[in-house]
C-alpha cells in the first residue's frame, strides 16, 4: 500500500525528531517527511512552495514551545498564508504542555484539528495519518 501523504514535523527537540523519523520509517507512513526545528523555517518552506502541490505537506505536526517562532506564531503566519496555498493541509498540535491555557488556545483556532500531548507512539501516529487518508478518500 503506497502512502500518498507528505508529513511535516515542526519541533526543536532533536530526540523527538529522531523518534518521529524512525516511526514514520518503520511504519511507512509517508511518501515524504519534512522536519523543521522551528516555525520560521517551516513558514519559509511553505512560502517557497506555495504553488508546488507536490512539495507541500498534507499533515503538519506542530509543537508549541520552540525558539524564534513558536507554535502560536506559526499558526498566525499560516492562517495568513492559507488562501494562497495550493493544498488542504491538516494540522495537529503535538506538545508536552499540559497547560489548560494552551489547550483552550488551540481549541479556538479552527485550523488545528486536534491537540495531542506527548509522547506520541508510532501506532498513534499511524492512526492519525490513516484518519486523514480516510477523510481524503471520502472527499475524493
Amino acid at each position: 500500500m503506497s502512502k500518498p501523504h507528505i508529513l511535516c514535523f515542526i519541533d526543536d527537540d532533536e530526540i523527538y525528531q529522531y523518534t518521529i523519523a524512525r516511526s514514520v520509517r518503520t511504519h511507512e507512513l509517508a511518501k515524504k517527511t519534512l522536519i523543521f526545528g522551528d516555525g520560521e523555517q517551516a513558514i519559509g518552506y511553505l512560502t517557497e512552495n506555495l504553488n508546488n502541490h507536490e512539495e507541500l505537506p498534507d499533515i503538519i505536526f506542530l509543537d508549541i514551545n520552540m525558539p524564534i517562532m513558536d507554535g502560536w506564531h506559526f499558526m498566525d503566519e499560516f492562517i495568513s498564508l492559507k488562501p494562497r496555498l495550493n493544498k488542504q493541509i491538516v494540522i495537529y498540535m503535538i506538545t508536552s504542555s499540559v497547560d489548560p491555557i494552551d489547550y483552550d488556545h488551540a481549541k479556538r483556532i479552527s485550523e488545528i484539528s486536534d491537540y495531542i500531548v506527548k509522547p506520541i507512539k508510532p501506532e498513534m501516529l499511524r492512526e492519525l495519518v490513516e484518519k486523514v487518508e480516510r477523510n481524503n478518500n471520502l472527499v475524493n
Binding site: 527537540d13 532533536e14 530526540i15 523527538y16 529522531y18 523518534t19 524512525r22 516511526s23 518503520t26 522551528d38 520560521e40 514551545n65 525558539p67 524564534i68 513558536d70 506564531h73 508536552s96 504542555s97 499540559v98 497547560d99 506527548k118 509522547p119 506520541i120 507512539k121 508510532p122
Partner: protein, 680 residues
C-alpha cells in the same frame, strides 16, 4: 430754647389750653365787635356791667393768640410770633401807663373808636393803670416762661401769680358789691368784670405751664400734701367767699351789726372747717390705709422675690457644683483662657496631668510663655475658631513640662464670662493611641508585605510547576519512545544508535534538573546576606569577566550612577544580574551597528533602579512579552541562546523583592529595567 421736654403735656391738657386761649381771643373779638357797632352790653359781656376798653380787648386778642403759640414754641415761627405779640402788648400797656404817670397823651386811647361810656373821672378809652400793669406782667411772663434760666421762669411764674391775686381781689369786690367809687384802693384796682375774668383765666392757665414752680406746684404734685392742698384749698376759697358774701349782705341790710357779722362768720368758718378737716382726715386715713396695704403687698412681693432669688441662687450653686464636678472629673483637659492674650484663667486636673504642670504654674500665664504650643499653632487654631465659631478635634502637637511632644485632639469654643470673651478648650492626649495606631499600621504593612511575598512565591511555584511540566515532560516522553524502539529493535547496530540517543536525553534531563535546582536554591535563599556595593565596582568586575566579548564586539559603555551610586544587595546576585544583562546586550547586538550599552542607576522616592539599554537586535515584545523571562525561551537563532540567563536573573531579583521589566523594538534595541526594592 430747650422747650420740647417742657411741652410734653397730654393731648387733653393741650386741648384745654387751646380752648382757654381760644376763649380769650373770642372775648377780645366780641368786645371789639361791640365797640365797632356800639353795643354796650356786648362790650361789658354782661348786662349793665362796665364795658371792657377797646385797647384791652385788642390786648387780650393778641395775648390769647400768644398763649396758644406758647405751646408750639419748639418751632421757630410760632416762637417768633409769640414773642412779637407779647412785645406789642407790653408796648401798648407801657405807653398807656406812661400817659398816666407823666400826664401826656400818646393818642392811643381813642385811636380806633371813641369811648362814650367812660366814667367821668377817667379819660375816655384809656385802660386803668392796674390793667396796664397786669398786661405788662402777663406779657413779661410770656417772654420768660420758656427761658432756660430758672430765675426767669420763677419770675414769670410769680408775675402770673400776682396777676391772679389782683384779679381775685377785684373779683371779690364785685362779688361783695363793693362800690368801685368807695375807696382809693378800689380806684387802683378798678377793672371791668370781663377783664378781671380774662386775667384770672389767662394767668392761672399760664402758670400751669411751669407747674412745678411757684404756688401752683403746691397743687400739682402727687405727694400726700399736694393731695390735701388740692382737696382743701378750693373748698376753703368757696366757703370764705360764701361766708363773706352772706355776712356783708346781712350787715348791709342791717339785720346784724358789723361786729356780730365778724363773730358769726368766724364761728361759721371754724365749724365748717372742722367738717372739712374731718372729711379730709377720713380721706387721708383711707389713702394711708391703701398705701400701707400697698406697702404690705410690696413687702409680700419682695419676700416672694427674695425666696425666688434664694431658690435660683441655690439652683445656680448646685449647677455650679455639678459643673465643677464635671470639670474636675473629666478625662479631657479643659482650660479657660482669655481670648486676646491666651492667659489661663482656669484649668482642670486632667489638663495639669496631661501637661505635667502644677496649677499655680499655669494660672495667669499663657501657653506661649510656657512653650506649650507654638505661636503658629495657636494662630491657626484661633483663626479657625474665629472663622467657624468653634474648633472640633483638630490634631495639634503640644509640649509638656518636660518638653516631650504630645499629639492631642483639640476642641474649642467661645464663652462669655463677666461680659468678656474667653476661649474654653478641650484636650485629649492621643500620643499613646497614635503609637498603638502606628504599631497597628506597621503590623498591617508587615502583613501586606508578607502577603505580597506569599502571593508571588505562589506565583513562582506555579511557574515552577509549569517549568517542570514543560521541561521535564518532553525528555521523559522521549525516553518512553526510545524505550519503545529499543524493545522492538533487532539489530545490535540499531540498539547502539538508540543508546546514543538515550545518553543525549539523559544529559539534557541532567542539565534541566541542574537549572531547576539552581533556581530553587535562589528562591529558598531569600535571606541572602546584603552588603554595600558600588554599581561602578560591580560593573568593572563584570567587564573583566566579559573582556573577550567586549573586545570582539567593540562595545561602548555609557554609565551614570550619580543618582544612586551604591546599593545594599547580595554581591553574587548583583554580579550575576549585571553579567546576564550586559552579556545579553553584547550577544544580541546588531550586525549593522557598533554596540552601545547605556547603564543608568536611579533613585525615585527610595526605589532604587538600574536600567540597561542596548542598540541591538531587539525583541518582538507583542509576541514574546509573556515568555521573555521564562525558562528555556529563546528568541534568537543564536549559538549561545540557552534561554536560561533571564530566567535566573528574574528569579534572583524577585527573591530579593524586586522586579524586572523590558521594553524593546525590533532592530532598534532593548532596555531592561530592574527595580531592586519594589516589594520589600
Amino acid at each position: 430754647m430747650p422747650l420740647t421736654a417742657k411741652l410734653n403735656f397730654s393731648s387733653r391738657s393741650l386741648a384745654l389750653f387751646n380752648l382757654i386761649g381760644g376763649g380769650i381771643i373770642t372775648i377780645g373779638f366780641i368786645v371789639i365787635v361791640g365797640w365797632l357797632f356800639h353795643f354796650k352790653n356786648l362790650c361789658g359781656l354782661l348786662p349793665n356791667a362796665a364795658p371792657m376798653k377797646f385797647n384791652t380787648a385788642l390786648c387780650f386778642l393778641l395775648l390769647g393768640a400768644a398763649f396758644i403759640l406758647l405751646f408750639y414754641c419748639d418751632k421757630y415761627l410760632p416762637r417768633r410770633v409769640c414773642k412779637a405779640l407779647s412785645y406789642i402788648v407790653i408796648g401798648i400797656a407801657v405807653l398807656s401807663l406812661s400817659q398816666d404817670a407823666f400826664g401826656w397823651s400818646a393818642g392811643i386811647d381813642q385811636l380806633f373808636v371813641t369811648d362814650p361810656w367812660s366814667y367821668p373821672f377817667l379819660l375816655p378809652g384809656r385802660m386803668t393803670p392796674m390793667v396796664d400793669f397786669c398786661f405788662i406782667a402777663v406779657g413779661l411772663s410770656f417772654l420768660g416762661i420758656h427761658s432756660s434760666h430758672i430765675a426767669f421762669r420763677n419770675m414769670a411764674q410769680y408775675l402770673l401769680h400776682t396777676v391772679t391775686i389782683i384779679s381775685l381781689v377785684v373779683l371779690m369786690e364785685y362779688i361783695f358789691s363793693a362800690s368801685p367809687q368807695s375807696s382809693r384802693f378800689s380806684m387802683l384796682t378798678m377793672m371791668a368784670v370781663s377783664t378781671t375774668l380774662c386775667f384770672l383765666l389767662l394767668s392761672s392757665a399760664a402758670s400751669a405751664i411751669n407747674y412745678n414752680l411757684g404756688f401752683i406746684s403746691i397743687f400739682t404734685g402727687s405727694e400726700i400734701g399736694n393731695i390735701v392742698a388740692r382737696k382743701l384749698f378750693p373748698r376753703m376759697v368757696v366757703i370764705l367767699i360764701v361766708l363773706g358774701y352772706v355776712s356783708v349782705e346781712l350787715e348791709r341790710k342791717n339785720y346784724i351789726s358789723a361786729e356780730f357779722g365778724v363773730i358769726l362768720s368766724t364761728l361759721s368758718f371754724l365749724l365748717i372747717s372742722l367738717f372739712l378737716i374731718r372729711d379730709t382726715l377720713t380721706d387721708m386715713n383711707r389713702l394711708d390705709l391703701e398705701r400701707s396695704k400697698a406697702e404690705e403687698e410690696t413687702k409680700a412681693l419682695n419676700r416672694n422675690l427674695e425666696d425666688m432669688v434664694m431658690r435660683r441662687t441655690l439652683d445656680l450653686k448646685q449647677s455650679n457644683d455639678r459643673f465643677i464636678k464635671i470639670l474636675n472629673s473629666s478625662p479631657a483637659g479643659i482650660s479657660l483662657s482669655s481670648l486676646d492674650k491666651g492667659i489661663y484663667v482656669d484649668v482642670n486636673p486632667s489638663l495639669l496631668e496631661i501637661l505635667g504642670y502644677q496649677r499655680d504654674e499655669v494660672i495667669g500665664h499663657t501657653s506661649a510663655e510656657l512653650n506649650i504650643v507654638t505661636a503658629e499653632t495657636r494662630k491657626s487654631m484661633l483663626s479657625e475658631l474665629h472663622n467657624k465659631g468653634y474648633v472640633r478635634n483638630a490634631d495639634i502637637v503640644l509640649k509638656n513640662k518636660d518638653g516631650r511632644e504630645l499629639l492631642c485632639k483639640f476642641s474649642a469654643e467661645f464663652i462669655d464670662y463677666n461680659s468678656q470673651q474667653f476661649m474654653i478648650s478641650f484636650l485629649y492626649d492621643i500620643t499613646d493611641l497614635k503609637q498603638v495606631e502606628r504599631n497597628l499600621q506597621d503590623a498591617k504593612k508587615d502583613l501586606e508585605i508578607l502577603t505580597d511575598k506569599l502571593t508571588y512565591q505562589n506565583k513562582r511555584l506555579l511557574e515552577f510547576a509549569q517549568i517542570t511540566s514543560h521541561n521535564l515532560r518532553s525528555p521523559v516522553s522521549n525516553l518512553n519512545l526510545l524505550i519503545h524502539f529499543y524493545k522492538e529493535s533487532e539489530t545490535a547496530e540499531d540498539k547502539h544508535d538508540l543508546w546514543t540517543n538515550f545518553e543525549t536525553v539523559v544529559q539534557h534531563l541532567n542539565v534541566t534538573l541542574d537549572e531547576l535546582l539552581e533556581t530553587l536554591k535562589i528562591q529558598e535563599d531569600t535571606t541572602k546576606q546584603r552588603e554595600e556595593l558600588a554599581f561602578n565596582d560591580v560593573l568593572s568586575r563584570v567587564k573583566d569577566m566579559l573582556v573577550g566579548q567586549i573586545k570582539e564586539s567593540n562595545a561602548i559603555f555609557v554609565t551614570d550612577f550619580s543618582k544612586a551610586p551604591t546599593i545594599r544587595y547580595p554581591k553574587s546576585y548583583l554580579e550575576s544580574i549585571l553579567l546576564n544583562l550586559v552579556s545579553n546586550a553584547i550577544k544580541y547586538r546588531s550586525p549593522d551597528r557598533q554596540p552601545q550599552i547605556k547603564i543608568v542607576a536611579d533613585n525615585v522616592d527610595g526605589q532604587l533602579s538600574l536600567s540597561v539599554e542596548d542598540n541591538g537586535l531587539g525583541i518582538d515584545m507583542i509576541r514574546h512579552k509573556q515568555s521573555l523571562f521564562g525558562l528555556r525561551k529563546t528568541f534568537h537563532r543564536h549559538a549561545e541562546a540557552r534561554g536560561l540567563g533571564l530566567f535566573i536573573t528574574k528569579t534572583q531579583i524577585e527573591a530579593m523583592g524586586g522586579e524586572i521589566s523590558a521594553e524593546s523594538e525590533v532592530d532598534k534595541g532593548t532596555t531592561f529595567k530592574v527595580i531592586f526594592n519594589k516589594h520589600f
